[in-house]
């Protein structure tokens, strides 16, 4: 139980220390990262035993107090955050150290640790909250910290400003919706809301507003325009966190709302509409990724495409069996995309660091000079393409099954097409990187920890495919869609 509070308070405390004692920022950050991993794992083991957890802050029960809630889904997202967080923190040791010695770089390492730890606290709070208004507060905190992190890179200020405005707009929509719900039901506790929700125009309005706000924050096509510049221009560890965690946090909020308060309201039409946007995101994002001139931009557009997959749950959610399979598939995709994309962004950062640029057509020689980084890129791409044995494969497999079971085979076509396109843009990068070049060694060799942390995250994405039985069982704890039941062979 106490892990839940500690998961939020620990990074917050760390952020405070890192801010007032910058000299100890790095050691604080790494310590917190390790403790977080331990806490998340211990919470996951507790929940794996079969019980969901509830905690009322300071002993006040909802609706008066703030409720914290954790089930399998929460535990997995907390674990994802702590694994990605640890990998990125380790990478940051090397990344920001290099920047400080280089006078040409204006990036401030001083900003990184406090902001990142604050962001971490807000992320964990979002995953644990059971209250629609607190969801707003945490989303806002995440948004602000994320914008500040993007702006650590001097030339990314324009992208950061746009990111800020979009984030505020999204939050505003969301807050309007929450206001409506409060006016209707007099509570913002999600459990109470689910119990009292009636299909009525005001409720639909609230659902539309809140969903729209979150779609903007998740960067679903055509609301994705802000994502590629922000993610591609931020410092590498920041890009990793944005793509792997921050976008997922908004999606997590959507999942919670649509399976909680909005479940009685969900109409087939809305689901289909969101599904179409998801499909468009897959196609459009992949095409843009294929044409992007810079590696980090390729990776950023790939995020746009991969986010599209997550929204294919909505049209499939209508039928009960397919809906539950699809839900497991989508969560799996979100988790494995988080790990793989973090690894990929860190690896891209290493390449940028070593060669001073990341133009895709000039990547020749990366295979010779940065074999570990290239290996990380390859493994991460395999998961993003959904090739076995990776977490991406398991997710896509479940989602494909759901599409066929529900008879909506056209979503399967989109998924397969998306996989082929992902292969196209991934191998475009790999092909260039595999080319040999007669040249001197790169200017800056990345610190080994930078290469290995990227590889470790990519390997975790693959492990999620091989060792998926226990995590999937964990996900079943408290899942409102029921247990994962694939069709059995009739006897």
């Amino acid at each position: 139980m106490s892990q839940m509070a500690a998961l939020v308070l620990m990074p917050l405390f760390g952020a405070f220390i890192a801010f007032v004692l910058p000299r100890y920022a790095r050691i604080t950050g790494i310590t917190v990262a390790f403790i977080q991993l331990g806490l998340a794992l211990s919470l996951a083991t507790t929940i794996y035993a079969g019980e969901t957890l509830r905690l009322s802050a300071a002993g006040w029960d909802p609706p008066l107090g703030i409720g914290l809630y954790a089930d399998g889904l929460t535990a997995l997202f907390l674990c994802l955050t702590s694994v990605v967080g640890l990998g990125t923190s380790l990478h940051a040791i090397g990344y920001f150290k290099f920047d400080r010695n280089d006078s040409n770089h204006n990036t401030s390492a001083h900003g990184w640790w406090p902001l990142w730890l604050a962001l971490w606290a807000a992320l964990n709070a979002l995953f644990l909250t059971e209250d629609a208004f607190n969801l707003y507060v945490t989303l806002e905190l995440i948004g602000l910290a994320a914008v500040a992190l993007v702006a650590l890179e001097a030339h990314a200020v324009a992208a950061a400003t746009r990111y800020l405005l979009v984030g505020l707009l999204g939050s505003m929509f969301y807050l309007l919706g929450v206001g409506l719900l409060y006016a209707l039901h007099g509570t913002v506790d999600m459990k109470a809301l689910s119990a009292g929700m009636q299909p009525e125009p005001a409720a639909w309005m609230a659902m539309a507003l809140m969903t729209a706000g979150l779609l903007l924050k998740t960067a679903l096509f055509p609301l994705h325009f802000w994502l590629p510049p922000a993610h591609a221009n931020a410092p590498a560890p920041v890009s990793a966190i944005l793509s792997a965690l921050v976008v997922k946090a908004a999606f997590y909020a959507l999942l919670r709302l649509w399976l909680g308060p909005f479940e009685p309201l969900a109409a087939d039409l809305a689901g289909q509409l969101i599904g179409i946007l998801g499909a468009a995101a897959i196609i459009w994002g992949s095409v843009q990724a294929f044409m992007a001139p810079r590696l980090k931009l390729v990776v950023a557009y790939s995020t746009v495409a991969q986010i599209g997959y997550l929204f294919l749950w909505f049209p499939l959610a209508g039928s009960s069996i397919a809906g539950s399979i699809a839900w497991y598939g989508v969560v799996w995709l979100a988790l494995s995309h988080g790990l793989a994309k973090a690894g990929l962004f860190l690896a891209a950062g290493n390449i940028l660091h070593a060669s001073g640029h990341d133009r895709v057509t000039d990547l020749a020689g990366v295979g010779q000079h940065l074999p570990i980084t290239l290996f990380a890129v390859g493994i991460a791409c395999a998961s993003i393409m959904g090739l076995p044995p990776s977490g991406g494969f398991v997710g896509k497999w479940l989602l494909l099954n759901a599409a066929f079971v529900s008879g909506q085979w056209w979503w399967a076509v989109v998924m397969l097409l998306g996989g082929i396109m992902a292969a196209a843009y991934s191998f475009r990068v790999l092909l260039h990187a595999f080319r040999n070049k007669e040249s001197q060694l790169p200017q800056h060799r990345p610190h080994p920890v930078m290469e290995w942390s990227a590889l470790a995250l990519a390997v975790c994405a693959v492990l999620l495919g091989i060792l998926s039985a226990q995590p999937l069982a964990l996900l079943e704890v408290g899942a409102s869609v029921g247990e994962l039941a694939l069709t059995e062979a009739p006897k």
């Binding site: 497991y328 295979g367 074999p371 290996f375 395999a382 090739l387 076995p388 044995p389 494969f393 398991v394 497999w397 479940l398 494909l400 099954n401 066929f404 079971v405 085979w409 399967a412 076509v413 397969l416 097409l417 996989g419 082929i420 292969a423 191998f427 092909l431 595999f434 080319r435 040999n436 495919g465 091989i466 998926s468 039985a469 999937l472 247990e483 994962l484 039941a485 694939l486 069709t487 059995e488 062979a489 009739p490």
Partner: protein
């Protein structure tokens, strides 16, 4: 947890673990890498021996790992797996030996051998897969692990070949994935079963099953190089010789052909496939491929290209044998899995030897090469004669059973395909053999290297001689107990439930 559980897993890991270790080895650690490679290969041979002994003694081998409820990874050993696993392991051993000699001073050897082991592990996984999901799993892993081998040299031609290879296999993989997932959704989890599973399922829509079959065979046909999906194979030629040898003999094309056998026999069931009217189209496509590949081979001057088109043609014998109803043709198809592997790997080893020792890449440069490299040319001749189907070579056995099977099934036209193909085989192989032995050398060899006592490095010489002799022996002793033919007979009769 018994031997029955651990052995298939151990067989898989005996190449996977050394492969992973090799990735992290320093380039200069030549000796340790060789120990890991050959140690893994030898261990695998021993384990396969155990497996064969166990299967004879009717021990059930099955490794089942549950990924998710209703999503099992299954490795098992039925008669068909044992055949393919034995072939892969045996040929892996000789190819490793060959590759060590071939890449003696080349760069990136750790990367090469790492992916090489991964590639073999994927093939072993395909061979032992107990359901379509597992098959798919390793099939895609195979695509991934062969790509770095194809582009190993990093030259523009290699990258181009690699790109074409990827384009075909990724799209083929997507079609296969669609078919497997669709089948899974309508029929539930299906473990491979002799005589097939779907025949008894009257609840399934016939049209859906036909569409799924088309997707599955379409996806598998890419790797099996069925016309018109064969375009990548001649391009992938650019790979280093040991890779081409493995690609053409066991790994990639065979994985496709093996998959077709699995789908027809152990998923749909051959009689049920015939009932759905799907066998005849498959037979026609296979026949077209056989003739087309041979005709194209005739016009290639580059030795490896000619061999590649010959593969296109020869591998389709397996699909053809599968597509003719009746156990006799099945025997021919299944036994060709082994025979073609032995003969083709010999030919590719020899082609590699000519290129490495004398710099010969084209057939027009091969005049008199038999006098300079008699052992290699002898092995080449054995392989070539086998391909043509001269008795008592291995290829003859395959063709004999295919022909008899076609007559039994009253598909007489298949006989003409076989005759035409054999004539074409002779037309493109005999001139090479004739040039090598009976012409005189003209001028200097393009790029000659000397290796002391033998005509070439002993590690390059030994593998083709071994496989060439084996190709002769499996034909000569086809009727002996424990031979490939006997094993194929056992499989075929089980598949027909006899």
């Amino acid at each position: 947890m018994t031997v029955g559980f651990w052995l298939p897993l151990a067989i898989l890991l005996s190449s996977l673990l050394p492969g992973i270790l090799i990735f992290f080895l320093d380039e200069s650690k030549h000796r340790l890498r060789t120990i890991l490679n050959l140690g893994g290969a030898s261990l695998k041979l021993v384990l396969i021996g155990l497996l064969i002994w166990g299967v004879f003694n009717e021990i059930e081998y099955e490794t089942r790992l549950t990924l998710a409820p209703g999503m099992d990874l299954v490795l098992h050993a039925d008669a068909l797996s044992v055949l393919f696993v034995t072939l892969s392991t045996g040929l892996w051993f000789v190819t490793t030996l060959y590759a060590i000699g071939y890449l003696e001073d080349a760069p990136h050897r750790s990367r090469f051998f790492g992916f090489f082991s991964l590639c073999v592990s994927a093939t072993i996984g395909i061979a032992m897969a107990g359901n379509m999901l597992t098959f798919l799993f390793f099939y895609e892993l195979l695509t991934l692990s062969t790509y770095p081998l194809v582009v190993h040299r990093g030259t523009p031609e290699a990258l181009r070949g690699g790109r074409i290879y990827l384009t075909y296999t990724i799209i083929g993989g997507a079609a296969l994935l669609a078919g497997v997932a669709w089948l899974r959704a309508v029929a539930g989890p299906l473990d491979f079963t002799e005589t097939g599973i779907l025949a008894s399922r009257t609840d399934l829509d016939r049209t859906t099953l036909t569409a799924i079959f088309a997707l599955l065979i379409g996806g598998l046909g890419v790797k099996a190089a069925l016309v018109p999906l064969h375009g990548w194979l001649p391009q992938a030629m650019i790979a280093p010789a040991p890779v081409s040898a493995l690609l053409h003999a066991v790994a990639v094309v065979k994985a496709g052909a093996f998959g077709i056998v699995r789908v027809v026999y152990d998923v749909y069931g051959v009689e049920f496939t015939a009932e759905l009217n799907l066998l005849l189209p498959l037979a026609v496509i296979a026949s077209i491929t056989i003739v087309y590949g041979s005709v194209r081979a005739l016009f290639q001057d580059e030795l490896k290209k000619r061999l590649a088109y010959s593969t296109v043609s020869q591998v389709s014998y397996i699909a053809l044998g599968t597509a003719i109803l009746g156990p006799i043709a099945s025997i021919g198809g299944i036994v060709h899995l082994v025979h073609q592997g032995l003969m083709k790997i010999t030919l590719f080893f020899c082609a590699g030897n000519y290129a490495e020792t004398l710099g010969i890449h084209h057939i027009s440069e091969m005049r008199g090469v038999g006098h300079r490299m008699p052992w290699t040319t002898l092995a080449f001749t054995l392989g070539a004669l086998g391909m043509i189907g001269v008795p008592p070579m291995a290829g003859f056995i395959s063709k004999w059973y295919l022909g008899r099977g076609a007559l039994t099934a009253e598909m007489d036209w298949v006989l003409w395909v076989l005759v035409a193909s054999s004539l074409l085989n002779a037309a493109y192989f005999l001139p090479i053999v004739y040039k090598a032995w009976f012409h005189r050398q003209e001028g200097e060899w393009p790029q000659e290297r000397h290796f002391g006592r033998f005509e070439t490095h002993w590690m390059l010489l030994l593998p083709p001689v071994i496989t060439g002799i084996l190709a002769l022996l499996v034909g000569l002793f086809a009727a002996a107990p424990y031979s490939a033919l006997e094993w194929a007979r056992l499989i075929a009769f089980r598949e027909y439930g006899q």
